[in-house]
């Protein structure tokens, strides 16, 4: 069987997709086995949300103050940074001193951002 490099490449990702779908298949299978043996005795009290044994208070779709949304913003910044670092990391020797200095500047700018957030006090909450 002769196959082109491209189809080999796509096939390696098809294997990934197959193995990934195994998670869903396994859960489905377990649920099916469980369906054969588990009891089903509906009572209205069973379907209340659990709040330490007392009846739920207020709306169940409650709102919460997400103090760390700012961390999510910082995360986006650094994650994009990581995307740019990896290609350089695989070719450090080829880029040599020039690439190294450029990466220093890049990391330095991002560290400045972190220091700024630090000084602004977003990394700790009252």
């Amino acid at each position: 069987m002769v196959s082109s490099p491209l189809s080999d490449f796509l096939r390696s990702y098809l294997t990934v997709a197959i193995f990934g779908s195994l998670g869903f298949i396994l859960v489905g299978l377990l649920l099916f086995i469980s369906y054969l043996v588990r009891p089903n005795r509906p009572q209205p009290q069973k379907y209340l949300s659990y709040e330490s044994g007392v009846d739920p208070v207020g709306s169940l779709w409650s709102q919460s103050q997400i103090r760390y949304y700012i961390f999510a913003l910082l995360f986006v910044m650094f994650d994009v940074e990581a995307v740019f670092i990896f290609p350089w990391a695989t070719r450090v020797e080829a880029y040599g001193g020039f690439g190294l200095v450029e990466m220093f500047v890049f990391i330095g700018v991002l560290l400045l951002g972190l220091v700024y957030a630090w000084r602004k006090g977003v990394l700790k909450w009252a």
Partner: protein, 344 residues
């Protein structure tokens, strides 16, 4: 595609065998780790015997537990978002399986040898965040919501040290592929001495420590277990889950522990390979899976040792540790490694 054995198989045959073997390996290792550490190791640390009734020394306890979970009623609370609530455990499980795809267990024993290797692993592990966040949200429960949000905040904060710690290894090898990383270690030499190859735990010790700390947090194991802090949040995002759906979260948690340990042993401890002088390539075909399993199980042991020894941090202390210590140190590690690589 390299055939796994000498026989030239069709793609579907090869995939079937690989997927089957991969599944068995993942579940067996997970079961072994649960029995070894969660049932026995912690019991001995707390001066008790642990399970003794089911099978010799309680070794069949996990099967008994699964049997119990199978018989539990499947409960959806009245206000929950049923579709998302039902899908969330499967998303977490799938993310765990996807991690194992590229981890090599021998010269050819890898489910799919992707060129993006370690980067792919790091990407797949973050899918679990989506599953956990949707579990917390879809439960329509205050504890779950807080737990889910805590988990999301924690997983993204520690994703960064994890990613940055790996860069040091990538700089040394010059490749993202995990097989290349393994070969670089087994064929390497420490100052010209090739007796034990060049496992990157020596040259990348800082990276290794950062990786282990970040893994501890990614697994939400104590001291980083605020998302499921039982004394504050009952069970965090798992509060409303019972029976099989809870079991899936449980399996995924321990399978992810095995996965991260296998990745860490591949990156820093030489993976499936022994030093090049010790064993021939043909021996490694059958010895490789044993070697990587042993390394991974030992590393999971370190995770559980820490888990059962240290008390829980506060949520803001956790974020500060990541942002003020681990990330700057990881960046410094990249700079130093890059400089040394270019200089020598």
């Amino acid at each position: 595609m390299t055939p796994m054995l000498a026989v030239d198989w069709a793609y579907w045959q090869e995939t079937l065998v690989k997927v089957g073997l991969g599944l068995v390996a993942v579940l067996l290792l997970t079961g072994a780790v649960v029995y070894l550490y969660l049932f026995k190791f912690v019991s001995f640390m707390q001066s008790r015997l642990g399970p003794m009734e089911a099978g010799p020394y309680g070794s069949m306890q996990l099967l008994a537990e699964v049997g119990k979970w199978l018989q539990k009623e499947d409960v959806f609370t009245e206000n929950s978002d049923r579709i998302v609530f039902g899908l969330a455990p499967a998303i977490v499980m799938s993310s765990t399986f996807l991690m194992f795809v590229v981890i090599p267990a021998g010269p050819n024993a890898v489910i799919s040898d992707l060129g993006t290797g370690i980067y792919y692993v790091l990407a797949m592990t973050s899918i679990a965040t989506v599953g956990i966040l949707s579990a917390g949200w879809a439960s329509a429960n205050k504890y779950s919501l807080i737990g889910g949000l805590r988990a999301a905040g924690q997983l993204i904060a520690y994703e960064l040290p994890l990613v940055l710690a790996v860069v040091g290894v990538v700089i040394q090898v010059g490749s993202l592929n995990l097989q290349d990383i393994v070969h670089a270690q087994s064929d390497g030499a420490i100052f010209g001495w090739s007796g034990i190859g060049n496992p990157f735990i020596f040259t990348q010790f800082v990276g290794f420590m950062i990786f282990l700390i970040a893994v501890q947090a990614e697994l939400t194991q104590s001291p980083f277990d605020m998302p499921i802090a039982e004394s504050e949040l009952v069970g965090g995002y798992q509060v409303e889950y019972t029976g099989i759906r809870f079991l899936v979260f449980f399996i995924a948690e321990f399978a992810t522990a095995v996965g991260f340990a296998a990745v860490a042993s591949t990156l820093f401890l030489g993976g499936w390979a022994l030093p090049a002088d010790w064993a021939s390539e043909s021996t490694m075909h059958w010895l490789g899976p044993i070697v990587i399993s042993a390394k991974a199980v030992l590393l999971v042991g370190v995770v559980f040792w820490v888990r059962f020894s240290l008390p829980r941090f506060r949520e803001d202390q956790l974020q500060q540790l990541a942002w003020k210590f681990l990330i700057p140190v990881a960046l410094l590690n990249i700079v130093v490694t890059g400089t040394l690589k270019v200089a020598f």
